[in-house]
């Protein structure tokens, strides 16, 4: 059961993440990236940009908290001090309206952090996250000649507290976003995952880091090499993907640091977390190959001849079951071996 399961996951789920990150087939129109101070979304966003560059997707970056455009971004929309409507207008204007290119063009819209918008006082009560986000995916106005397939990647900082809700019955922005999203990627730091797994393997309470430590004055707990382990770098992606059929897929992946591969590398670099040698060390080759026996100075094994002899022993109750009549049973029948010496007193037959 287990090996088939793993190979199934290896083929299907790796295909899925590669489809999602490369924005193929518009597998997921709205991806929600939940990051925290312990693992910021920057590596994943850069990976999105890298893959979009490879497949020539137009990238629009909506910057709520970034000042400088990231490398490789086609259009940079500074959302500072803009109302939601102005942002939508600017984003839609950022896409070059070329009707000559192929049947369908793809574009990627990255939002670096949605929190400031949700927090802003300028967003009035009528502001609606879902209509705001869907207006990116389905732009209003004159229908263009070529259909544009837009994918939206929204980053949400989990650790930034949400503003108080206007009404006790409105859902929080995070639950709204998780409801809308077709893909949710939660980010974890690989070294933290390793530390927590090591604790769980010993049935200890897994450690927490950063803000969750609730220490006075600690905002970030992340240190580069907490255990002096160079290779424990990378971002762990906890993926939840909702298929069109409604079935959900849950999987854990690891994205290696960008320094490990060249920027033009076209092969899939994301692997399953379970396949990572540090998370699940490869089993020893001779482990479980033969029956393990306790080692001692005595010879505990039987030779073949001894085993044959032992099987040949007819135990007394077998003889008693022969039913030769009462009185007949209960005798010990013993064939003398050559190594036995006959004792007159004890072995009277």
């Amino acid at each position: 059961m287990a090996p088939t399961n793993t190979s199934h996951r290896q083929t299907h789920n790796l295909l899925l993440i590669s489809k999602l990150l490369s924005l193929r087939d518009t597998a997921s129109p709205l991806a929600l990236v939940l990051d925290s101070l312990e693992q910021p979304a920057t590596p994943l966003i850069k990976e999105y940009i890298r893959r979009a560059k490879l497949s020539k997707v137009h990238i629009t970056f909506v910057a709520f908290e970034t000042l400088r455009p990231l490398e490789g971004v086609d259009a940079f929309v500074a959302a500072r001090k803009k109302s939601p409507l102005e942002i939508i207008k600017a984003v839609n204007a950022a896409y070059p309206n070329v009707s000559t290119s192929g049947p369908s063009r793809r574009r990627l819209i990255l939002i670096d952090a949605i929190n400031p918008l949700l927090h802003a006082r300028r967003t009035d009560a009528h502001f609606n996250v879902s209509s705001f986000l869907s207006s990116f995916l389905m732009p209003q106005g004159p229908p263009t000649v070529s259909k544009v397939e837009a994918s939206l990647v929204v980053t949400f900082h989990q650790d930034v507290p949400s503003p108080p809700l206007p009404s006790p019955y409105t859902p929080s922005p995070l639950s709204m976003l998780t409801y809308l999203a077709t893909t949710i990627i939660r980010l974890h730091s690989f070294s933290h995952i390793l530390a927590q797994k090591a604790a769980r393997d010993r049935s200890l309470v897994p450690p927490v880091f950063g803000l969750e430590e609730e220490l006075d004055g600690v905002l970030l707990g992340r240190l580069d090499k907490p255990i002096g382990n160079e290779s424990a770098q990378g971002v762990v992606l906890e993926l939840e993907h909702r298929r069109k059929s409604g079935r959900g897929v849950l999987e854990w992946y690891i994205l290696p640091p960008a320094s490990r591969y060249p920027p033009q590398y076209a092969k899939e670099i994301v692997t399953l977390l379970d396949d990572h040698p540090l998370y699940r060390p490869p089993e020893e080759p001779d482990f479980g190959a033969g029956e393990e026996e306790p080692e001692s100075t005595f010879e505990l094994r039987l030779t073949d001849r001894q085993r044959r002899d032992r099987e040949g022993v007819v135990l007394p109750y077998f003889d008693a079951q022969q039913g030769d009549g009462p009185g007949e049973g209960g005798r010990i029948l013993y064939d003398m071996g050559e190594e036995d010496d006959f004792d007159e007193e004890e072995d009277e037959i």
Partner: protein, 386 residues
């Protein structure tokens, strides 16, 4: 105790050669104040050319560029910074004359009405809502650092949504401040000669509501930055190379003192800081990261967090997300010690690695060290066990 070098070697890579358009967040708690670290940033920027030994070993990022500093302080006055910098060997008044340094006083007249002269006249001329004068429940007194000798105390309006927690009755001037205004204020900045118009002390005034009020503050600070830059071009010597470092000392006061009542929240503050960042080379911002200010908002269920807690936490954590480097100061975990003032943890912020320029941030690695502030203001930074 031997005298310490002004820039501890362990600290030097983090305070000098800041990458362009970077934000560095310096989080402090009540027991571990960051004045000394702010001063080290001032020192590294202003003294980079004269002390070539530190610049030689660490400051390859300087490239001989002249660094200028604009210090916007919301909690401490000019006199405090001048005295503290003097202990490091920095003459801020002289540097102000040389247009290498500018001080912006964010506290003294923040809520007083706009005036042209630096000396306030009478409280009757205050035109806006500042009619009632309450004894200012000042922000935490710097227990870790040296206590300021004299502080300019503000005549400010009652802070609306702030619960008056932790008033500091021990401060001498606080008692004298509220009643007579005219005698106190003119003598407050003695180091500021009236002859300088832009002078060492530019004072911020907050008027109006919401983002518009912040825009005005931004314009004021931008004018100071432009003044430093403009003067350099007039003197015509390596003017293009000058980089301005902006130091924002506890702008969270602004957030705490205004709050949702004035339509200023975390997002508006963040955008204000972003706006300021556009004018300067690099920005250093100190923030309070005390437990109640950060965690009350996220500890769900127990109690409704106050607006101040929510907004402050959102501002502080959001700033850490935007920062390249977060320098966290906190108390020693094992309690107070005679020869350790606190713990300094250097972590990479959320914006780390956004630019592909690796050589700009090559020599930063995350680190945790202990520090000790001596009585003479010298600071030693050392690893555990050293």
């Amino acid at each position: 105790m031997p005298t310490q070098p002004p820039l501890p070697p362990l600290l030097a890579p983090y305070v000098s050669s800041l990458p362009p358009s970077s934000l560095i967040v310096l989080s402090t708690v009540l027991g571990a104040q960051g004045n000394w670290l702010t001063l080290r940033y001032l020192y590294a920027a202003l003294n980079a050319l004269s002390t070539s030994d530190a610049a030689l070993s660490f400051g390859e990022g300087h490239n001989g560029k002249k660094q200028k500093v604009v210090l916007v302080s919301f909690l401490r006055g000019w006199e405090f910074w001048r005295a503290e910098a003097k202990r490091l060997g920095l003459d801020l008044a002289r540097l102000t004359d040389k247009r290498q340094f500018a001080f912006v006083d964010g506290l003294s007249e923040l809520f007083a009405g706009p005036r042209t002269t630096p000396t306030p006249t009478t409280p009757t001329t205050t035109n806006t809502t500042t009619t009632q004068t309450t004894p200012p429940s000042l922000a935490p007194s710097p227990r870790g650092g040296p206590v300021p000798q004299r502080t300019v105390l503000p005549n400010r309006s009652a802070p609306g949504p702030i619960p008056a927690r932790g008033p500091q009755p021990a401060r001498g001037p606080a008692v004298a401040a509220p009643a007579p205004l005219a005698p106190v204020a003119p003598s407050a900045p003695p180091a500021a000669p009236a002859s300088r118009e832009v002078g060492p002390v530019k004072r911020l005034h907050l008027s109006g509501k919401g983002p518009a009020a912040l825009d005005r503050l931004e314009k004021d600070i931008a004018a100071v930055v432009g003044h430093l830059n403009g003067r350099a071009t007039a003197s015509a010597e390596e003017e293009d190379d000058s980089e301005v470092l902006l130091v924002l000392d506890q702008p969270d006061l602004l957030l705490a003192a205004t709050g949702p009542g004035k339509e200023i929240g975390a997002t508006e503050m963040t955008e204000w800081v972003m706006g300021l960042q556009q004018y300067v080379h690099a920005t250093v911002m100190t923030l309070a990261a005390d437990l109640p200010l950060i965690h009350n908002a996220s500890a769900a269920g127990h109690q409704m967090p106050t607006p101040l807690e929510t907004e402050h936490a959102a501002f502080a954590i959001g700033s850490a997300h935007r920062a390249h480097l977060v320098m966290q100061l906190r108390d020693l975990d094992t309690g107070a010690a005679r020869d350790v003032s606190g713990v300094l943890r250097v972590s990479k912020g959320g914006a780390w690695g956004q630019s592909d320029n690796t050589d700009a941030n090559g020599n930063w690695e995350e680190k945790e060290a202990l520090y000790f502030v001596q009585r003479d203001g010298g600071v030693s930074v050392f690893r555990r066990g050293e």
